[in-house]
């Protein structure tokens, strides 16, 4: 906070992830093409949705012959975490309504994590730098996958799927500062793993939010009220 952070900080912070996101864009393009979505629709979807997991879920349902309603429900469940995440970012966005709307669209797990300054504060410039970078990588990857994915091979063989948990872990570590943050993290992980076999994808992550309530210190009220 001594030196102001810029858009470039956001670009640099997600640069390692941009390659992984591009790789997943490629797999999305390949899968969407093979699910019969054609060429334009997958790219359009990446442009207006910008939420990888929901897009993967929607096309896998489409591919399996599911209904439009099921696909959209899956997308809602997978993106429900952006409700509380958006609420956490809201106080840091000072601009007008349109500016806040546009900033909100650049929020994905990775950009939210790198823009976090701890203590519930977020840097909007870092969010924009990181968001625009990943948005470009996601769309470019999708277009490459749709165009010539067969030549590029499976991103899983490059280990790109392990890049995401590694990044989240590296971003989690500095946020573990006290007993309540450790409890929140422990409960969040435990709830997510426990629910995975029993609920549709997306629900475990949303329910992991309860970790932030459980992690609160028991005596959270200011002592002035004690009499």
């Amino acid at each position: 906070m001594d030196r102001p952070r810029t858009y470039l900080h956001g670009v640099r912070a997600v640069a390692p992830l941009a390659i992984a996101v591009g790789g997943f864009g490629i797999s999305f393009g390949v899968l969407a093409r093979s699910a019969g979505m054609g060429v334009v629709a997958p790219i359009a979807m990446s442009m207006i949705t910008f939420a990888g997991s929901a897009q993967f879920a929607a096309i896998s349902i489409l591919d399996a012959g599911g209904t439009v309603a099921t696909a959209v429900t899956a997308a809602v469940l997978l993106n429900a975490r952006y409700g509380p995440i958006g609420l956490s970012v809201a106080p840091s966005l000072k601009g007008g309504r349109l500016s806040r709307f546009l900033h909100a669209q650049l929020v994905v797990d990775e950009t939210w994590a790198v823009a976090s300054e701890g203590g519930g504060r977020f840097d909007p410039r870092v969010l924009v730098g990181a968001g625009v970078t990943l948005y470009a990588a996601w769309i470019a990857g999708t277009a490459m996958g749709v165009g010539f994915g067969d030549v590029l091979g499976d991103p899983a063989s490059w280990g790109l799927d392990a890049a995401f948990p590694a990044l989240f872990l590296a971003l989690l570590f500095p946020q573990l500062r006290d007993r309540s943050s450790w409890s929140a993290a422990g409960v969040g992980a435990a709830v997510a793993l426990a629910l995975t076999p029993f609920t549709p994808p997306g629900v475990p992550i949303v329910c992991a939010s309860v970790g932030c309530v459980v992690g609160l210190p028991r005596r959270g009220r200011p002592p002035s009220g004690a009499a």
Binding site: G36, L87, A90, R97, G120, A166, G188, L216
Partner: protein
């Protein structure tokens, strides 16, 4: 090239194509709406103190959940595969205070190497 009556084929293609675009438009709209809700309605205003301290812990809670699911999850199953070793090496790198870029690259490289070895074994 499949041969059918032109009308039937056109109808089938049309319903398939419109389903695709319906999904594209609806998934896009709900995602945009969910993301916008908090910032558009609450933006710039401080959250109530109690809510703010709860939301402050959302970072650790959700990041830990994302780590857990992206390491052990495979659809609706939990598995132990090459990712665990990759992320394990990532933990070591974080502990040794390696920069984030190195952590991410190491995790991906170890995972890819384990898969390559296991694939040829």
């Amino acid at each position: 090239m499949r041969r059918g009556t032109a009308a039937a084929r056109t109808a089938a293609e049309w319903s398939c194509v419109s389903d695709v675009w319906l999904i594209v438009v609806l998934c896009g709209s709900v995602t945009i709406a969910i993301k916008a809700a908090g910032p558009v309605l609450m933006g710039g205003r401080a959250l109530p103190a109690r809510l703010a301290s709860v939301i402050g812990l959302l970072g650790p809670a959700l990041l830990a959940a994302l780590v857990a699911i992206n390491t052990f999850g495979a659809g609706r199953a939990l598995t132990l595969d090459a990712r665990v070793l990759g992320v394990g090496v990532g933990v070591l790198a974080i502990w040794r205070r390696a920069p984030v870029l190195l952590v991410v690259v190491l995790a991906a490289a170890v995972t890819a190497a384990v898969r390559a070895i296991a694939g040829t074994a």
